[in-house]
Structure formats: structure tokens, C-alpha cells
């Protein structure tokens, strides 16, 4: 691979990261707010109290502003699999394409059809039908999250397929295994719960701001009542499924866990670093992170901080004496714990690739015995197929950005813990009828919304940066997945998206804050 090729790979990565991170600014709000709207409309439908209708219509206006930009930033993601990752699209399209198509047929149509009824149907359908439309919009948006997370979960833990050497691609063997992939199921639940938490933080923050300004006090308190109940349940769900995620990462992506914890050398009874900092290398923290992205010195990151004894072994395996491998155990191997080195896996991967080439050659020449022999060899080494594209003299190329993964993971966990405290506190204050007088709590509620946004984005940084260099775990690295396009073209589209998305984000913030300033009665 030469420098030109790497430029295309890195800019394609950057473009996908940019579009995904922008998309995820808006989507969590859509996922959770749609259910909050449905709950509010249900209360209105049951009680006939017009106050709930006014409250719902206010939040629906904000939902509409956010929904449009979520759709705008989403379309590019689906097509980028083809435009920028064309090898990937063929290599696993037989499995990966299905959830994307089902997402369209099952979820997008539901969402787009009923959102139109929700917005424009107030005077055209009965109250009951409108309520159905609002619920179906919420179900549609969440179903779309299910299918795309099934697809993403499959990339982290490819199951239910086999490689067909005749078509040179992976093919689906079990749809049930793909759908009920434990990584996908947990990822879906964790992601939507965290999105609901974020939406609840949004409603709480806006309502708290009204209370601080002594405006719309009744509507704001009722909004907080619904949102903090929703938020409390959601953050509990997020934390519980977060624990599940950590266990799955430990099982299927041990290098990602080592990077998240900054664990260089593994041990039995490994401690969990609750709060800590990696050694900042020469040039400062930003330089360390930049080096991280370039893949430099990742075997040199050491973490210092407050440790919980046995914490990591328990978190990862529910066993205080379990062995948790560190970065160096995975790169250089650990005979005692039966962990092969990356060098061995690279050699094994090369055997798989060469056997596949020999199989194709023998098949073409009509030498069936040789083809069968090579096929057996290929199958025996297929689990290391992706490693074969790396240089055995540079196994460190298989280490993800450690500093970024560590900081992202720990900041996310700390923020999640804070949100739990916040929702409990809000609920307590609400029932003690002290919410309006507790200015500190209201101010904390307002500033927690941007913190929620940070936690959301960091969650994806942990998930995606932590699994580098793999596009499909152990089977396909990014440099093999990319399209045959010039890096200059990708640079142009990267900056085009950057400028357009940033302008639209600024416009959205202006519109949102304007609508919030106008308030419930406008």
C-alpha cells in the first residue's frame, strides 16, 4: 500500500466519521423526542386536557426542526458504503445490504408517511388516528435504529455467514443469527436508551431554562415531569446495557477493551481505572491524540489514576480472578494465557489469502484435488483472513488509538453517572415541590444538555475508533475496504460536507433557540 492509497483510506475514514458524528447530533433527539411526544399526546387523548396538547405541539415544533436535518445528514451514510467503501460493499454486501434494505422498507416508510400525518393531519384525521400516527412515527424511527445497529453490530462481531471462495465474498447462512447477534441486540438497546436519555436532557434543559426565566412555569414543570421519568428509566437502562456492552467487547474485541482502559499489560484480577490520565507524551495532550490518529506510540501509553481492585476482571468477565489481556499481550502474545501474537495471526492470515489465490488458480486449471486441498487450508486460517493484509514486522498497526479510546470511554461513563444523579435529584425536587426554588439544580439541568451531546458523540468514538483498523472485525481492515477513487476527490467532498453540515447546524441552533425563546404559546 503506498502513500496515495493511504490518503484515500484516511480521508474516507475522516469523511465517514464526519458524516456519522454530524448525523448523530440530531438522531438521538429524534429517537427519544418521538416517544416523549407520543406519551404527551396519549395523556392528552386520555384526559382531554388542552394543556397537554399545547405542550405537545411546542415540542413537536422542535422535533420537526431537528427531524429534517437528521434525515438530511442520514442519506449520505447509506450511500457512502458504496461510494467510499466499494470493496466492503461487495465483500459483505450479501449480509450487510439486507438490514439496510429492511430498514428502508420496514422503518423509513413508516416514519416518513406517519410523520406527514403527524405534522399536517391535525385537521384531517380524528384524534385517535392522529395519536396512532404519532406512535407509529416513534416506532418507525426506532425501528430504523434497530436495523442500522444490527448492521453495525454485525461489523463488530460477524456471525451467521461463511466465505464463498467462488463468489469471493461472505454470504449469509442464518438471518436469525445476524438479527439476534448478541452484540447487535445489546448495541441497539444501549444506543436507544442513551438516545432517550439525551432527549430527556433536552426537554429538561429547555424547561429548566423557562423556570429560571419564570416563564411557562406550568408547561415547563409538566414537561420535566414526563422527561425526568423517561430520562431516569433510560439512564438506568443505558448503564445496565453499558455493562453488557463491556462484557461483549471483552469477549469479541479484546483489543478495544484494552484501548478503552489503556491497559498495556494484562493480568488476573485486573483493576478498573475509575478516574485516570494517560501519560502525556512529548508535545502535550493534543499531540498525543494526534499521534494516536496517526497510529504512533500506542504501545507507549500508560495510565495512572484511581484504581478499583479486581474491577476490570469483574466488569469484563464477572470473575474477579479472570485474565484481562492488555495491548501488549495481544500484540506480542501471551503463552501462559494462550493468546497468539499478532505476528502469528498475520502469518495465518497470509496463509488464508495465498490459499484462496491457489484455490482459484487450481479451479481455473481444472485441478480439483489441489483446489480441495487449498480450500481446506483456507478454511482453517479464515478466522485470521484480515490480518493477512498487514506487515508482520509492524503488528502495532493493528492497535487502535489508545489515548482517544481511553478518554472517550471514561468521559462517557463519568457523564452517564452524572445524568443518573441529575434525574434522581430532579424527580426528588419535583415531588418535594422544591424544583422552582432550587436554582442550582435548574442551572445544572441546563448545562447538562451539552454534556449529554458530548456523551453521545463519545459513545460512537469509543465504538468506532476503538475497533480500528477493522471495518469488519478480523476479516477486513479499512485499507482493503476502500473504493478506487482519488484522495483529492474525497478531500473535496469531505470539506463540502463539512461546510454544508456546519452551516446547517448553525442554522438549526439559531432556529431552535429562536423557537424556544418564543415559547409555548407562539
Amino acid at each position: 500500500m503506498n502513500a496515495t492509497h493511504w490518503a484515500t483510506v484516511d480521508w474516507s475514514r475522516a469523511q465517514f466519521a464526519l458524516t456519522a458524528l454530524y448525523h448523530w447530533i440530531f438522531v438521538p433527539l429524534t429517537l427519544g423526542l418521538s416517544f416523549i411526544l407520543a406519551i404527551m399526546e396519549t395523556i392528552y387523548y386520555k384526559t382531554g386536557d388542552e394543556k397537554w396538547l399545547r405542550i405537545e405541539k411546542f415540542w413537536m415544533k422542535l422535533f420537526g426542526i431537528n427531524f429534517a436535518i437528521g434525515v438530511a445528514t442520514g442519506i449520505i451514510l447509506e450511500f457512502e458504503f458504496g461510494t467510499n467503501w466499494s470493496n466492503y460493499s461487495w465483500f459483505v454486501g450479501d449480509i450487510f445490504g439486507a438490514p439496510l434494505a429492511i430498514e428502508g422498507i420496514m422503518a423509513f416508510f413508516l416514519e416518513s408517511t406517519f410523520v406527514a400525518i403527524m405534522f399536517f393531519g391535525w385537521n384531517k384525521v380524528s384524534r385517535k388516528v392522529h395519536l396512532w400516527a404519532t406512535w407509529l412515527t416513534a416506532i418507525g424511527t426506532n425501528l430504523s435504529a434497530l436495523w442500522i445497529l444490527v448492521a453495525n453490530g454485525w461489523m463488530q462481531n460477524p456471525v451467521g455467514m461463511h466465505f464463498n471462495p467462488d463468489t469471493m465474498r461472505n454470504e449469509m447462512l442464518s438471518f436469525a443469527n445476524v438479527l439476534f447477534n448478541p452484540v447487535s441486540v445489546n448495541k441497539f438497546v444501549h444506543t436507544v436508551f442513551s438516545a432517550y436519555t439525551f432527549s430527556a436532557l433536552f426537554v429538561v434543559a429547555v424547561s429548566a431554562w423557562y423556570l429560571l426565566k419564570k416563564r411557562h412555569r406550568e408547561q415547563a414543570k409538566y414537561s420535566i415531569l414526563v422527561a425526568s421519568a423517561f430520562g431516569l428509566l433510560s439512564i438506568i437502562g443505558t448503564i445496565v446495557t453499558g455493562d453488557g456492552s463491556a462484557k461483549q467487547v471483552a469477549r469479541y474485541q479484546p483489543m478495544k477493551l484494552a484501548a478503552m482502559e489503556g491497559l498495556q499489560r494484562g493480568s488476573r484480577g485486573a483493576p478498573l481505572i475509575a478516574i485516570g490520565t494517560p501519560n502525556v507524551r512529548k508535545g502535550g495532550l493534543l499531540k498525543s491524540m494526534a499521534d494516536d490518529l496517526k497510529g504512533k506510540d500506542q504501545l507507549d501509553v500508560h495510565i495512572k489514576g484511581f484504581e478499583i481492585p479486581y474491577g476490570l476482571s469483574i466488569l469484563a468477565f464477572n470473575d474477579p480472578h479472570a485474565f484481562v489481556p492488555g495491548v501488549k499481550d495481544l500484540v506480542y502474545g501471551n503463552d501462559k494465557e494462550g493468546i497468539p501474537s499478532y505476528k502469528e495471526r498475520i502469518r495465518s492470515g497470509k496463509i488464508a489469502i495465498n490459499a484462496l489465490a491457489a484455490y482459484k488458480k487450481a479451479k481455473k486449471a481444472g485441478n480439483n484435488d489441489e483446489a480441495a486441498k487449498q480450500l481446506e487450508l483456507f478454511k482453517a486460517h479464515f478466522k485470521d483472513f484480515g490480518y493477512g493484509y498487514f506487515d508482520e514486522n509492524h503488528p502495532e498497526a493493528l492497535v487502535p488509538p489508545v489515548t482517544i479510546s481511553f478518554f472517550s470511554f471514561h468521559t462517557m461513563v463519568i457523564l452517564g453517572t452524572w445524568f443518573l444523579i441529575l434525574f434522581v435529584w430532579l424527580y426528588y425536587a419535583l415531588f418535594k415541590r422544591k424544583l422552582e426554588t432550587n436554582k442550582t439544580l435548574l442551572r445544572l439541568a441546563v448545562i447538562s444538555f451539552p454534556l449529554g451531546f458530548i456523551a453521545q458523540e463519545l459513545g460512537w468514538v469509543v465504538a468506532e475508533a476503538g475497533r480500528q483498523p477493522w471495518v469488519i472485525q478480523d476479516l477486513m481492515p479499512a485499507q482493503v475496504a476502500v473504493s478506487h477513487i482519488e484522495s483529492s476527490g474525497v478531500i473535496i467532498t469531505f470539506f463540502l460536507f463539512f461546510v454544508v453540515f456546519t452551516a446547517l447546524l448553525i442554522a438549526e441552533i439559531k432556529i431552535m433557540t429562536g423557537a424556544i425563546r418564543k415559547g409555548f404559546d407562539h
Binding site: 503506498n2 496515495t4 415544533k61 426542526i65 429534517a68 436535518i69 434525515v71 438530511a72 442519506i75 449520505i76 447509506e78 450511500f79 458504503f81 458504496g82 461510494t83 466499494s86 460493499s89 461487495w90 454486501g93 450479501d94 449480509i95 450487510f96 445490504g97 439486507a98 439496510l100 434494505a101 428502508g104 422498507i105 420496514m106 423509513f108 416508510f109 413508516l110 416518513s112 408517511t113 406527514a116 400525518i117 405534522f119 399536517f120 391535525w122 385537521n123 463468489t167 469471493m168 465474498r169 454470504e171 449469509m172 489469502i353 484462496l356 482459484k360 493484509y389 473504493s483 478506487h484 477513487i485 482519488e486 476527490g489 463540502l496 454544508v500 448553525i506 442554522a507 439559531k510 429562536g514
Partner: protein, 392 residues
């Protein structure tokens, strides 16, 4: 049920489904056609708002259908997805960019006066209205005239050299834009003709939708007048494309599976496949009848005829490309790299799974038709918009 079908039958079934979705997509692109109308028809802000809201209520259906069209192609014909999207990079990026700016423009137009401003969003709507039908039409024409790419699945086993592992490679640095000047058998002429034909078709659909759904007499009169120019324009472009393709030195799949080229091969293929011919003919006849009704009879009834004709005609064109003995995505650089429904489809197992999912399509169609009818219960005008909760 689907397990009993042969692999080939499943591939045919999925190409038919893709063709149906394609037909519906072009019909729903009346939204794009509508977005080019307000600078021409509206004389004041109120009229502009009426037109933008008329089409704005439907934009998400078109948008979703485009996404589903892409998703269905990915799931059923992944090699097309990877070859065309990764190769014709600029064409698809321009189309996607046009849809990105469209999605926010309805919602932000009246709300964002400071950052980009109303006029910018209206410009985005017009831009999307022109670019999307034009480029999608050109892209579909390359299903007949060909594109410069090679496909080598064995590339995956090459290690260590620059970009050598890439399976699908595009032959020019223009990445799809070369369709505009491809001189292979005057291909560029036919590509541009279909692009312009699709542009005029969706504009005609939009004009008839305005005539059917808008209460403002002035707007309706202007729409009828406009129709007199865009109908002949469509006919000229579409018939030019049809004649060009019928006699094109096109691509065929031989009995040995090899791709060859021959003059007027597409005309021959069409004659050899009467079902496809009939679908295409019915579609074209309905489109022409829709125009006849629009120009000489009751214009408010013409929309249904033209709509049905559009779906069938587009479906017929896509069936013609994929099911009549030609590669549906021919390569003019390396003929043997051309994509057929047989060499580019998903595995049999995946097609079976997806076929079960396709049973949802009638339900989806049913609730979409219900929603469409519900939203179109009453004609639209400024007074009606004043009673609406959500106005674009």
C-alpha cells in the same frame, strides 16, 4: 414459498421489485418537478408558499423511496452498488448533495432568516428539482449505453501493491461525469436526452398535480399554459432517447455467457420479450393519453393517467435493461466486466430472506396511499394554509 424458486427466478423477482420501486420513485419525483415551478408560476409570496407546501407535504415519501431504492439494490445486487456508487463517485455525490440540501429546505425556509436566509433554501429546492431528475435520468441511460469500469473479484487476494486489492475500478478520473461526453455511438446524446426527458416528465407531473390540488385559479391557469410547452419538450427528448437506444450498438449476453455488442440489439431484445414490450407500451400509451387528456380534455383527471403511465414506463425501461438478455450495467471499457442480474446478485439464501421481507411492500403501499389520500382530502390555497399547524 420462496425457497422453492430457482436462483434465477429469485434474481428476476428482485429485478422486477427494483423496477417497480424505480417506477414509483420517478412518479414521486413530481416533488422535484414541483420545486422548479414556483419561480415560474408564483407571482407573490402567498402563491409561492402554496406551491412549496403542496409539494412539501410529500417530500419525505420521495426521499424515502430513493433511500429504499438504494437499499434494495444493495441487498439484491451488491456488485452494482459497489461498482456504480464507488465508480461513478461524482454523479452520486452530486445527487446526494442535492438531496441533503433539499431535506432541510422545507423546514428551514421560513424559520432561518439569518444564517442562510429564505432565498438560499428556495434556491436549494430549485437546485434539487433540476439536478436530481436530470442526473438520475442520465444514470439510467447508462444502463444501455455503458460505463467505463472493470470488475475483478480476484483482486482481493493480491497483497501489498497500491490499490491492487480494489475489485471495481473506474476507467476515468471523471467518475461518472464522462457520461455527458461519452462519444461511443453518440452515447452522450442519448444519456442527456433521457436526463432531460425525466426532468420534463416530473415537471409535467407536478404541473398536473398543481392543476388538481390547488384552489388558486391564477396558478392553475399558468400551470395549464406551462404544460403546453413542457409536454412537447418531454416528447422530443423521450422519443429521441428511445430511437437512439433502439438502434444503439448495444450489449448482449451470448449463450456462452460472454458479452458481445451488436447494432439495434435493444430493439431486438424488446421484440423477443413481449411482456416487457407490453408493459413499456402500456406505460408510454398511458403517458401519451395523460397528455392528451391534459391538453384537450379535463386536465384535473390527467394526473392519474400520467402517474400510472410514468410508473409503468419507467418500470418497463428498467425491465428492458435487466431482463431481456442484456447486461443491465454494461461496461464499455471491458465488456466482460458488465453486470448482469446473474453475476451481480446476492446469494440465493439472502434473496429468499429478502423476498419474505418484500411481502411487506403491499402493506407499505396501502398505508402510503391512505396517507396520500388523507393529506389530499381538500384542495390547497392560502386560506387553507392559515388553518394548518405546520406550514413550510
Amino acid at each position: 414459498m420462496f425457497e422453492a424458486m430457482s436462483y434465477h427466478s429469485l434474481q428476476v423477482y428482485w429485478w422486477i421489485l427494483v423496477s417497480v420501486i424505480g417506477g414509483i420513485l420517478v412518479f414521486l419525483m413530481l416533488v422535484q418537478g414541483g420545486q422548479t415551478l414556483f419561480p415560474k408560476l408564483a407571482e407573490n409570496e402567498d402563491q409561492k408558499t402554496v406551491l412549496i407546501n403542496l409539494f412539501g407535504h410529500k417530500w419525505e415519501m420521495t426521499f424515502t423511496t430513493l433511500v429504499v431504492f438504494g437499499g434494495a439494490l444493495f441487498a439484491s445486487f451488491p456488485l452494482f452498488y459497489s461498482t456504480s456508487f464507488g465508480g461513478a463517485y461524482w454523479v452520486w455525490m452530486i445527487i446526494l448533495f442535492a438531496f441533503i440540501v433539499q431535506a432541510v429546505s422545507y423546514e428551514f425556509r421560513r424559520r432561518d432568516k439569518k444564517v442562510l436566509g429564505t432565498r438560499t433554501y428556495e434556491f436549494f429546492l430549485v437546485l434539487n428539482g433540476i439536478i436530481a431528475p436530470l442526473l438520475i435520468g442520465i444514470a439510467v441511460s447508462t444502463f444501455f449505453t455503458g460505463s467505463p469500469f472493470t470488475v475483478q473479484k480476484e483482486a482481493l487476494v493480491r497483497m501489498g501493491t497500491s490499490q491492487s486489492v480494489v475489485i471495481s475500478r473506474w476507467g476515468t478520473a471523471w467518475h461518472g461525469l464522462e457520461a455527458l461526453w461519452n462519444t461511443d455511438g453518440a452515447a452522450f446524446l442519448w444519456n442527456i436526452a433521457l436526463g432531460l426527458a425525466v426532468f420534463c416528465l416530473v415537471r409535467n407531473l407536478a404541473l398536473l398535480y398543481v392543476i388538481r390540488m390547488v384552489k388558486d385559479e391564477q396558478l392553475v391557469t399558468k400551470a395549464k399554459k406551462c404544460l403546453r410547452r413542457t409536454v412537447p419538450a418531454f416528447l422530443v427528448f423521450f422519443l429521441t432517447w428511445l430511437a437512439g437506444i433502439l438502434f444503439y450498438n448495444g450489449f448482449g449476453v451470448g449463450a456462452d455467457g460472454k458479452i458481445y455488442r451488436a447494432g439495434a440489439i435493444y430493439a431486438r431484445h424488446l421484440m423477443e420479450h413481449p411482456v416487457v414490450l407490453i408493459i413499456l407500451l402500456i406505460g408510454v400509451v398511458l403517458v401519451l393519453y395523460g397528455f392528451y387528456v391534459a391538453l384537450f380534455r379535463d386536465t384535473s383527471r390527467a394526473f392519474g393517467w400520467l402517474g400510472a403511465g410514468t410508473v409503468l414506463a419507467v418500470m418497463g425501461i428498467l425491465l428492458w435493461a435487466g431482463l431481456t438478455g442484456s447486461p443491465f450495467y454494461p461496461s464499455n471499457l471491458d465488456w466482460q466486466s458488465s453486470l448482469t442480474i446473474a453475476n451481480s446478485s446476492s446469494s440465493r439464501f439472502t434473496l429468499v430472506v429478502m423476498s419474505y421481507v418484500s411481502l411487506l411492500v403491499p402493506f407499505v403501499a396501502a398505508y402510503m396511499i391512505w396517507a396520500w389520500k388523507t393529506l389530499d382530502k381538500t384542495k390547497i390555497d392560502t386560506a387553507e394554509l392559515k388553518t394548518e399547524e405546520h406550514v413550510y
